[in-house]
Amino acid sequence: MPKILRPLEVYGVLPQTNCGECGESTCMAFAAKVADGVADITQCKPLFKDPKYKSKLQKALEVTRPPVKPVTIGTPPCQVIIGGKRVMYRHELTYHNPTAIAVDVIDDMDADSLIKRAKAIESYSFERIGQQLKLNLIALRCVSDSPEKFAKAADMLSKNVSLPLILCSYNPDVIEEALTVVGDKRPLIYAATKDNWKEMLDLASKYKCPIAISSPGNLDMLKSLASTFVGTGMEDIVLDPGTFVRGDSLAETINIFTMLRRAAIEKGDKLVGFPLMAVPAVVWMDPEGDEVEKKMKESYVASIMMTRYADLLIMHSFDPWVLMPLLVWRQNIYTDPRVPPSVKPGVYEIGKPTDVSPVFATGNFALTYFLVRGDIENAKIDAYLVVADSEGLSVESSVAGRRLTAEKFAEAIKSSGLDQKLKKKVLIIPGRAARLSGELEELLPGWKILVGPRDSSAIPEFVEKVLKKEMELT
C-alpha cells in the first residue's frame, strides 16, 4: 500500500512559526494542504531562505517528495507539470497534475501548414462544467533527418505558439541544433536510448532541459538508464517504456505501465519514480485498418493509457470526436473522489422571472445544472430553476436509485417560497424523471406538472411548442 503523506509529518519539518507567508494562518493549516496535495512545500519561504532551517529543508524535501517525481516542461507562464503522483488508485487521494496531452507536427511541413496546425492545437478548446478543456504541448517530430530543418521548425513554433515543445529525434545532432534556438524554453528532449544516452544526457544537462528515456519493452534497460542519469544528478526524467498496440501487444503495454507505477508507489523503487509517457500516435504505423478505425483506436488507447498511469500522451489525430472522450475522461478522473461536482440545491433565477413565470426543476449534479440553465437561456424565457438535492448525481441515475424522488422535488418547491409567490404554478420536470409526475401532482396541489424533454437541449423547442400554450391556458 502507498505511503500517504500525513499533515503531522509535514508539520514536523516546517519552521512552526506561523509566520503566514505561505498564505495560511498557521503552519499546521499549511501542512494539511501540503499533505492533501493542494499546496506545495516550496510555498514555505522561510524554509528555503533562512539558513537556520537548512537541515529541516533537506528533510522537508525528502518527506514531501512524491514517489513519482514532478517534472516541469516549458517555462512560466506556459509550463506543464507532469507526474508528482502519490497514489495508484484515485479513491486513495485526488490525482494531481492531469495527464498532459501533446499533438504532433513534423519538421518538413511547409511553414504555413506547420504554423496553421500548431495554432489550431494551441487554440483547441472545449468547454465543460465551466472549465476549458485544452491540449498542452506540441510534439515536433524530425522526419527530415536535417538538423537545420528541424531547428528551423522549432524556431517557427516557438515564435508562433506558446505551448511547450517536445523535440523528437534519436539523433543528438538534430536535438542540439534545435536546442541552440529553443533550449531556453525548457522543451522536453525525446529521447535518450541505450545507443545515444551519453550525448543526449550531455545536451539535457547543458541546456537544463527535461529528457525522456526510451527503452521500448526493456524495463531493465529503462531502469539502468534512469539509474545512470540519477547518478549524475539528472532527475528531470520522463520514462518511455514503449507503447505497443499491434496484435495483442496492448495487453503487455498495459502490464508494463502498471508494473512501473506500482513499483514506484507501492514498492518505493525510486529509479522508476518518474512520469510515464505513452504514444497513442503509434496506431498510425499499422498498415491495416482505415482512417476512422485508426482514429477510434488512437482515442481509446489514449484513454486506456491515461487510466493506466501515463502522465504524458503524444497524439496524432486532431479531430474533436477523437479528443473529446479523452479530454472529458481526464476532467473526470482528476477530480476529488470525495466530492461529487454539485451545486447548492435551491431556486435560481434565469432572466427576470415574475409571478407568472414557469418553474423548471432538475437535480444538483453540476453538469446537469449548467446544461439545463444554458438551455433555458437559449429558449429566451424568464424562468425559475429549482434545483433539488439529487446528491450530486445525474437525474437519470438519481431517479433510478431513488435518491431523487417526488418528495424531494416537492420539498424543494415548498422551501423555495414559490408556492406563495406565484400566480401561475407550472412546474416542468425532467423527461428522465417522468415517472415521478403522478406522485408530484398529489404532493403539489394547485400545480400543473409538465414533463419536459429527456434531454434539456430540447427545452427551446419544448418552450415554443408546449410550454407557451400551457402558460396561456393556466
Partner: protein, 398 residues
Amino acid sequence: MSKELLDLLKLLDQASELELQDVTIEAEELAIEFLPVVMQTMAVTAPEAAVALKKVIELKMEKFEPPVIKYPGSIPEVQIGATRAEGGTRGKVIKIGGETCPPFYRFESPPKNRPVIALDVFDQPIVPLAGPVKSAYKDVLEDPAEWAKKAIQVYGADLISLHLVSTDPTLKDTPPQEAAKAVERVLQAVDIPIIIGGSGNPQKDLQVFQYLAEMTAGERLVFASATIDMDLDAVAKVMSKYGHNLVALAFMDINQAKELSRKLTEAGLPKDHLILDPTTGALGYGIEYSFSVMERIRLSGLMGDETLQAPLSCAATNAWAAREAWMKVDEWGPREYRGPLWEATTAIVGLLAGADMFMMMHPLAAKIVKGLAEILSKPKLDTKLEEINYNDWIRMRV
C-alpha cells in the same frame, strides 16, 4: 577509511554488475552522492536550481523486479447458462469472474475468464433510442426474438440482456405472464444464456422475477437487478430455489453493495450466483464514481472482504444518456463515430476498473470492447515486442 565508506563499498560490491570505472574517485565525492547522513550538511539548493552534473562514462546496470503482491482473497467464478446435461437448454454457457489479482495485472496472473458483452434487447420499442443505435436495429425493433438473433449472429454479442421495459407500472404495466412470452421466444430463438432485466420498480420486478425464475428453472440465467428497496429475502430465495444468478444493483455506494451482498447471501443466494453492479455513470456524467467504486470493490474483495467478492456488471449503455454521444453538433464531428466511441470509452473505463460483464447497445462499441477484452484476457500473448519497430513512430509519414 571511515565506517560509512566501508559500508558503502560493501554495498557497491553487492551490485556486481555495477562498474566503478573512475578508480580515482574521492571518498567525499562518493559520500556526497550516496549517504543521506552527509547529505544533510550539503549546501541546500532550491529544487529547480541547476545542478552541476557529474560525468559518467558507463551505464549502471539495474534489474527491474515485477512488484508482485499476494492477495488473501479471490473472486468466485459465476456460470451463466446451463446445458441440457446441466438441467437447462442452452447450447453454450459463459463463465465470468474468478480473478486472483487486480484487472489485467498480467505480471501477477492473466485473467481466468474473458469479460463478456451482452447486447441490450427491449421487449417493446417504447424506450427512445439514440439515432446511431436505432439505425443498427431498425429492422428488428418490433420483435425481441429477431433482435436477439441479430445481436448475436450479426453483431457478435456473447449474451443478450432482455429488458422487460413493458412491465414498468408507469409505462404499459404488462403482467408477468404477458412479459414471459418475450422471454420464451428469445430463449427459443438463441441458444446462448440471457440476462432478464426488469423495469426498475422494486415491487413489480420481484413479481416478474418470481414468475420467470420458476418458468425458466434450471437455465441458470441472470436476473437484473435486486436493489436495496426490494424484498431481498424473497428474491434471494427464488433465485436459489430455481438455480439462477442475480445482479445486485448498488447506487455508486460501496457500503450499499456490501449490505446487498450480505443480505442476499444470508437469505440463501449462493456466493457464486451473485454479480454486483455498482451503477455505471456515462463518460462525463459521473463515470469517475463508478470507476472508483468498482476499483474499491475489486481491491477490497482481493484483500479479503467476502461481501465484495463478486464479478462486476457494467451498464455501458448508459453512455447514450450523454448528449456528447448522440447529439448532432457539427463542431463535435460526426455522431456516427462519436456515439460508439463514447459508449466504448465508458465500457473501457469499467473494464480497467474490473468489470466482468457489460450491457451495451451499439454494435461497433460492442465490437471494440469485445476485441479488447479478448486481447487483454489471453493466457499467453502472441506478439513479440522486439519484432515491433516502435522507434519508427518519430519518422512515420502520416
